[in-house]
């Protein structure tokens, strides 16, 4: 029986194969078709290997979009008391800022910073919306770039880098605020270049300040913020910076403006700002020192002592660990240093920063002011939270 079955097996297999061949021929590609399919797939694999957008990085801005969004913000609580016992208890979302950037090509890009100060802007409100940066940047060569639009004036430490997690103290220091005056931005154009090991420079032509005798020629009140700015007298700013050792920055800025009142005050004269600073971070130790001085040449500023406006601060700090740092700062400034009036002001700050994340900071500091005038001095503490992304 087994032999009989075995003798039929070749015949049965032969019939089965013969019967199934037409079916296979209908559904299966020929060898030629298969070869074409393989070649097509190989072409696609090679294309994928060389593609920027499908996953393999190329080191050429392989981000999925050429437009970027960022921002920062800070909420402040001030609990301060003045000489007369009046207490200031205030909660303020001081700054809410959004960055928008776009890369048009490898050598042309756009930067912007839109800021809402004090939460609400509009008629009768305490805040304002400000366009603090909006400029195009062109690469001229590897070491030279040109910018045109609204940009931050290259003066001081905080004016260009002021995200809350990058500095100590809830409020920005009063010297850069009142003398530089930070945050200071203007419309115009500048060149930014670098040379050697760590040298860089900026030179720019931009809208000037527009202060007045009514404001006692205070520089901070002269910022025009590129809002239908009067440009009868432009300002020129230059800065040289050296950062040739990790953790060290030395810089000096010089600005000249022919008339800080844009021709509205014949007694105003020209104005020169000189600023220099040093920043040193080595291991857990940090030190910031800044000096700034304005010289206003006219009889008008001289009459009210505003022909000299100057200030300095020194800020040592120590990072206990990556998340916690402490600091102390002594600030002194005078917007009417040109005469003998009691106009000098000083402020001592002591406090700490806690970074639960490198981009998030919690701050607390104690503040004590000492004004020669003996009025308006604020003493107390400040709390703050800040972030950037």
């Amino acid at each position: 029986m087994n032999l009989r079955i075995a003798s039929f097996q070749p015949l049965a297999l032969s019939l089965l194969v013969t019967a199934s061949q037409p079916c296979i021929a209908d559904d299966t590609p020929s060898q030629t078709d298969m070869w074409e399919i393989i070649q097509q797939q190989q072409t696609e694999i090679e294309a994928l290997k060389g593609s920027d957008s499908t996953g393999g990085n190329t080191g050429q801005a392989s981000q999925t979009s050429h437009t970027s969004i960022g921002g920062y913000g800070e909420l402040h609580y001030n609990n301060l008391e003045d000489n007369d016992g009046a207490r200031k208890k205030e909660l303020d979302f001081h700054r809410f800022v959004l960055f928008f950037g776009h890369e048009f090509s490898d050598h042309i890009r756009f930067f912007s910073e839109l800021e809402l100060e004090h939460s609400i802007a509009g008629d009768g409100q305490k805040g304002e919306i400000e366009l603090e940066q909006a400029f195009l940047e062109f690469d001229i060569n590897q070491n030279l770039r040109a910018r045109a639009g609204i940009f931050l004036i290259p003066v001081g430490i905080l004016n260009e880098t002021h995200e809350p997690n990058t500095f100590y103290g809830v409020e920005r220091n009063p010297v850069e605020k009142n003398i530089v005056p930070a945050t200071w931005w203007a419309g115009g154009a500048e060149l930014a270049g670098s040379f050697g090991q760590g040298f860089s420079y900026n030179i720019g032509l931009h809208e000037g300040l527009n202060t007045s005798a009514a404001n006692q020629y205070t520089v901070r009140k002269g910022r025009q913020k590129t809002s239908k700015a009067d440009v009868h007298d432009l300002a020129a700013t230059g800065r040289i910076k050296w950062a040739g050792i990790a953790g060290l920055e030395l810089a000096a800025s010089l600005q000249y403006q022919e008339d800080m009142t844009q021709g509205n005050d014949s007694q105003a004269g020209n104005a020169v700002l000189f600023e220099t600073h040093a920043v040193f971070d080595r291991g857990p130790f940090g030190l910031r020192v800044l000096y700034a001085q304005w010289n206003l040449d006219g009889d008008g500023p001289e009459a009210v002592g505003a022909d000299e406006q100057n200030g300095f601060y020194i800020e040592p700090s120590y990072k206990i660990n990556a998340s916690l740092g402490i600091f102390a700062r002594y600030n002194q400034w005078d917007n009417q240093a040109g005469n003998s009036s009691d106009s000098e002001k000083s402020q001592i700050d002591i406090g700490l920063n806690y970074w639960p994340h490198p981009d998030v900071v919690l701050k607390v500091d104690l503040q004590k002011q000492d004004y020669d005038s003996g009025t308006g001095e604020l003493e107390g503490f400040n709390l703050g939270i800040g972030y950037q992304f």
């Binding site: 050429q60 981000q63 960022g70 690469d139 430490i157 950062a243 990790a246 020169v272 920043v279």
Partner: protein, 177 residues
């Protein structure tokens, strides 16, 4: 002094006017070294064929922990021979991506270079006085650089971007060995 400052005023004006007239001509990129130049320098004999490491599973999560965000691609290209691996990676400092080339040997950074810098400030990170700090750094058990990097004032975000990329290259090298 006044004469000097007036000269500064005039010179800056002249330069800027010249700039605007030259802005339409061909402009060079802010690139300090091309990818090919970096690879040729890294592999003295011959550049090996590129490989891909896929960012999936635990590896994807670790990469996210290192960068504080997902890597924008599903896989990362690298070049590797028996001795070293080379990585060309992008990371945004503040607004625009910085391209960095990193060579890893024996689990430590042999070389790190800024190939292209597109941010408006902070390009001091490309200088040797800064990049030298990374040489011979390796990873701790919890995927951190084993030594602190001294930063650059005004370039905090660029410095941190470079630290993240150095950490990422070391981690990926360990994953592909």
């Amino acid at each position: 002094m006044k004469k000097c400052l007036t000269t500064l005023h005039l010179v800056s004006g002249y330069l800027l006017i010249a700039l605007f007239f030259s802005a339409n001509v061909s402009l060079a990129r802010g690139t300090y070294q091309t990818n090919d130049e970096f690879l040729a320098q890294s592999f003295e004999q011959s550049i090996p064929a590129p490989k891909m490491v896929w960012l999936t599973g635990d590896r994807k999560q670790t990469v996210k922990n290192i960068l504080n965000h997902d890597y924008p691609n599903l896989r990362i290209r690298y070049w590797q021979n028996a001795a070293i691996s080379a990585w060309i990676l992008d990371e945004i400092g503040k607004e625009h991506p910085i391209t960095v080339g990193i060579v890893v040997k024996d689990g430590a950074i042999q070389q790190i270079r800024v190939l292209a810098f597109r941010e408006s400030r902070g390009d001091e990170i490309r200088h040797a006085f800064f990049t030298r700090q990374f040489e011979q750094l390796s990873l701790t058990d919890n995927d951190q650089l084993n030594q602190k990097i001294d930063g650059i004032s005004g370039a905090t975000l660029s410095v941190r971007a470079m630290q993240r990329l150095a950490t990422l290259a070391l981690f990926l090298d360990s994953e592909t060995r």
